[in-house]
């Protein structure tokens, strides 16, 4: 009764205490959400390959830190396999997008504009490529450089006309740009080589069976399901950005504990005379411990609820707007942060509770 009433009596004090916990929860959720959102987003191109089996040069297991070269005539060998329904080449290489003196790392992708396989799957504006010399730019890359449909941009060493802007094709430090396969072959000096084939299985064959068949039947080519290829690609990004982001999450958690601790300490300090009076009246230390821990729990629950709600609001607000940065808050994350908040509150309440447990009840007689 006293725990809650004391909190509710001072609305400003309660609000500032809840704000402290909210800030800690928000920090951790947003950092973790960016981590998960970004690592999910980096593989949207692979995820949108319609469950294709990816065929690549042996030794290549992910898309971002390896270059795959395959002879273009591998397509014929693939189509000859009984498990194969279709095989479409794509040619892609990372490059440097230069516009008005600004440099941005991006990925040039050439695809068969007749089938559309490997091309953009969602357009924010304009149309797909259907002529040589045309390009579909990622909309975030375009927005950052103030480029619109109809503008001319330089890719590598040739000019292209922007005919469309694509959605969901930006991820941390990477933007996809789509051109026709012949343009890509010329632009990237690929000769008779391509990067990957996206292969669809015939009905009755699973992607796993197809990948195994290609690996065993086609010399000089490996195959992975899109799921495995995406996981491998995500892992490499996690290894690249995971450590700093995890460090930041850990710092956010420590800041959270410190905030809860300071909040609880200040709250307890303000009530120290009341606790002394209770001790004098005969309330036991363990009962006061419970009072302090209850206050910590109330503040932690309120802070957690507000922090989670704000993090969800941030997730919704950010949505796809930033394009290359997204926040993904998962149920697991909420459970973990919920447990973490409980630990934060317990740790943060520990010292104040210990302090209260040691109050000299004679303090009630001090004037």
């Amino acid at each position: 009764m006293i725990a809650v009433k004391n909190l509710l009596a001072e609305k400003t004090r309660l609000a500032s205490a809840v704000f402290g916990v909210t800030l800690g929860v928000l920090l951790v959720l947003i950092m973790a959400g960016i981590f998960v959102g970004t690592t999910r987003q980096v593989t949207t191109y692979i995820d949108n390959s319609r469950n294709a089996v990816w065929v690549m040069q042996p030794g290549v297991s992910q898309m971002f830190k390896a270059v795959s070269w395959l002879p273009a005539d591998t397509e014929g060998e693939l189509r000859a396999l009984p498990e194969v329904d279709s095989a479409d080449p794509i040619l892609g290489l990372p490059s440097d997008f230069v516009y008005n003196g600004t440099h941005t790392a991006y990925f040039v992708l050439g695809y068969d504009t007749a089938t559309g396989v490997g091309g953009p799957w969602s357009l924010a504006e304009g149309r797909n490529v259907d002529q040589p010399g045309e390009v579909v730019l990622d909309r975030i890359l375009a927005a950052k450089n103030k480029i619109g449909v109809g503008d001319t941009v330089q890719l590598v060493d040739e000019d292209f006309t922007v005919v469309g802007l694509s959605n969901q094709t930006a991820a941390a430090t990477n933007y996809y740009t789509f051109i026709s396969l012949p343009d890509a072959v010329r632009l990237l000096r690929a000769g008779d080589r391509v990067s990957y084939f996206l292969v669809q299985p015939r009905p009755g064959h699973s992607p796993e069976q197809l990948a195994a068949a290609i690996t065993s039947e086609i010399p000089g080519a490996d195959a992975l399901t899109s799921q495995t290829f995406a996981e491998n690609s995500r892992d490499i990004i996690v290894k690249m950005i995971g450590r700093p982001l995890k460090t930041m999450i850990a710092i956010a958690a420590l800041v959270g504990i410190a905030l809860v601790g300071l909040t609880m300490w200040a709250l307890t300090a303000e009530q120290i005379k009341d606790f002394g009076v209770l001790r004098a009246l005969g309330v036991r230390s363990d009962q006061l411990w419970r009072t302090v821990l209850t206050q910590g729990a109330v503040i932690a629950i309120l802070g957690y609820l507000v922090g989670s709600a704000l993090a969800y609001a941030a997730q919704t607000l950010v949505g796809d707007r930033l394009g290359d940065v997204s926040i993904a808050i998962t149920p697991l994350m909420l459970v973990v942060v919920g447990l973490g908040t409980a630990v934060m509150a317990a740790l943060g309440s520990l010292l104040p509770a210990r302090r209260v447990g040691r109050i000299d009840p004679a303090i009630a007689f001090h004037r």
């Binding site: 009764m1 006293i2 009433k5 004391n6 509710l8 009596a9 001072e10 005379k273 009341d274 009076v277 209770l278 001790r279 004098a280 009246l281 005969g282 309330v283 036991r284 230390s285 363990d286 009962q287 000299d360 009840p361 004679a362 009630a364 007689f365 004037r367």
Partner: protein
């Protein structure tokens, strides 16, 4: 035995009706101090606060402890209230030697057998009058409904029924001290210890509050020990104890 809170027939360890913990009935005297001494500090800097005082207080008795500042009154009150363990001597509450009790048991005795009144009232500002009175009951495990009923009855008996829902900030000094009196009486204690209860009140209000305290304590068969500078309270007391330089100079009825 009768439960001192809900007045139903009850037997230890708890009242079956309101859940108040019950201790075996203590006989007279309620308080016995035997040759109690206490010093603050050590070595040459040591100051004697109590120099071997002996005092006995019976149920229903109102005792005033008077004397100059620094004479040992507050130290004596802290010793009687089990808030300070003296260097030497014996303290008995209800016949039980409390010298060897653990802090948890001392706290339990304070809650069950003693009530406290402070100069600054020390009401919890976040709680209403009735909630303040119910505090000791709730911490003792008394059911909420029984605790609030008891608190309401006590406030009513002290003429504060109309202030039950008010917080301390909305009360006058006299009203605050009467709420504190109700709180001190809530558990049905055997003794109430009051530290300068009238110091912050005007004379008329101080007198009224003291009379109410004495009357309520007698009605509940509780002893009252009042530490005070206020000589106008002499006539409500059964006995006046003069404490100076840590020694009892005289005890007069």
């Amino acid at each position: 035995m009768r439960c001192p809170v809900c007045h139903h027939d009850a037997s230890p360890p708890r009242c079956g009706h309101c859940r108040r913990p019950l201790l075996e009935h203590a006989g007279n005297p309620v308080l016995q101090l035997s040759d109690v001494s206490h010093h603050y500090g050590s070595g040459e800097a040591a100051v004697q606060a109590l120099g071997g005082i002996t005092l006995s207080v019976d149920r229903g008795e109102v005792v005033l402890v008077v004397g100059p500042s620094g004479g040992g009154k507050t130290t004596a009150l802290l010793v009687m209230g089990l808030l300070l363990t003296p260097d030497a001597g014996t303290v008995r509450i209800g016949g039980r030697d409390v010298g060897t009790l653990a802090e948890r048991d001392r706290a339990n005795l304070r809650l069950m057998r003693l009530g406290f009144l402070f100069q600054d009232y020390n009401l919890l500002t976040a709680l209403t009058s009735v909630e303040n009175v119910a505090v000791p009951l709730r911490y003792a495990g008394v059911r909420k409904s029984a605790a609030l009923t008891r608190a309401t009855e006590l406030l009513d008996s002290l003429g504060l029924a109309h202030r039950a829902g008010h917080r301390p900030a909305q009360l006058s000094g006299g009203e605050k001290q009467r709420v504190a009196t109700a709180r001190a009486l809530a558990m049905g204690p055997e003794m109430i210890l009051a530290d300068e209860p009238t110091a912050n009140l005007d004379s008329a209000t101080g007198r009224k509050v003291s009379e109410q305290l004495a009357a309520a304590a007698r009605a509940n068969d509780a002893a009252v020990v009042i530490v005070t500078h206020d000589s106008r309270l002499d006539d409500i007391a059964d006995r006046v104890v003069h404490l100076e330089d840590g020694r009892i100079l005289e005890a007069a009825r």
